[in-house]
Symmetry: C2
Subunit: 214 residues, 2 copies
């Protein structure tokens, strides 16, 4: 099994945590998202992943090629078992998915590399306006997430087991810290960040621990 | 079962199709996204859905309240059975989820109401720049999706059964048509649009068929 990713990609980071929690061995291969205009746009990579995004999971000799981090994580759960990223009861599974999607569909898509590049290159926003954009969507998303946590959180986002919701939250918090977003009004988010970082699976998946970090 | 939505919301439209395909009866209740600054921001609604987005699924007397269209659709599959929106084999399920997420995480979040409002109100973009933004993300997403379809499509996005991928594609095409995006270079997308509209479940879920359409 091979995971094509990039140290700073939040989506690849989610999958790295899942692989660690499930104890699955995957070869991590770097696709540099910035160098030479972005290696994700090279024809060889685009043939594997037409969205030209990371991560991509590959099994065998390109026998099975899968994109989209949440699809990859649910696949790992369904195909490999082990520690599960979703609870078993339908209502609980649904609530965890909703929390995960509230990051993956509402926050991350607005703040990822391709969007920030459009803001700079096409809309010609200055750094202040770009930062304001970034902070706006983080605060909107995290305010709503914090309310979900008040209802569902235990040690982690949903009760006392790590779930897909934590796998989405932690990389987004990492990213928010990088952009110096003030998270003081989100006590549950900060607490869950601390709790997750007691676990080796999260620590080892962190961007700065990856071989391609620079 | 009650679905709080809005006729023009792509996310609510996805769930309406699923309810129809599964033959589930749900009371549709309108949350007007524009009138009075948006009814989704009213305290009563925000208490149910802290993201202040539609749709929200409600069972019983607010006993179970669920947000996020993809979480809702997977919940309906897991809880109610009937026509299934995902295949049964893990690899096929994963590929369908990846296709659905490539719309739900890469296209729709960039073109929904809250983002278009930010472009107008905060970035003060004119209509041309806003349209260019809209078209850019549709073309980027649909180009990649068309390549996925070359690999996976039959009568529908993934083989000859309707799946979650179709439920995400059709509302996005509806939206693209509304913004006059030229779809002539996406023959598979147009073909699947036509095929889906042979099915009553899609026809009856269309925005202009809803009671709150104006």
């Amino acid at each position: 099994m091979k995971l094509l990713g990039y140290w700073r990609s939040s989506a690849a980071y989610r999958v790295r945590i899942a692989l660690n929690l499930k104890g699955l061995d995957a070869e991590l291969e770097s696709v540099h998202l910035v160098k030479n205009g972005g290696e994700q746009h090279l024809p060889e990579y685009a043939a594997l992943n037409p969205q030209e995004l990371v991560p991509t999971l590959i099994e065998g000799d390109n026998e099975f090629v899968l994109s989209q981090s949440l699809a990859i994580i649910e696949y790992l759960d369904e195909q490999y078992g082990g520690a599960m990223m979703l609870p078993t009861a339908p209502k609980a599974r649904a609530e965890v998915r909703a929390m995960a999607l509230s990051i993956a569909c509402e926050v991350h898509p607005l703040n990822n590399l391709k969007v920030l590049q459009y803001l700079t290159n096409t809309l010609e926003l200055d750094e202040d306006a770009k930062n304001a954009w970034y902070h706006h969507w983080i605060h909107q998303g995290f305010s709503a997430f914090e309310k979900q946590l008040e209802k569902h959180a235990g040690s982690y986002c949903y009760g006392d087991e790590v779930t897909l919701a934590d796998l989405c939250l932690i990389p987004q918090v990492y990213n928010a810290n990088r952009f110096k977003v003030d998270l003081s009004t989100y006590p549950n988010i900060r607490r869950i960040w601390d709790n997750c970082h007691q676990l080796e699976a999260f620590v080892l998946a962190a961007p700065e621990r990856q071989a391609d970090a620079s």
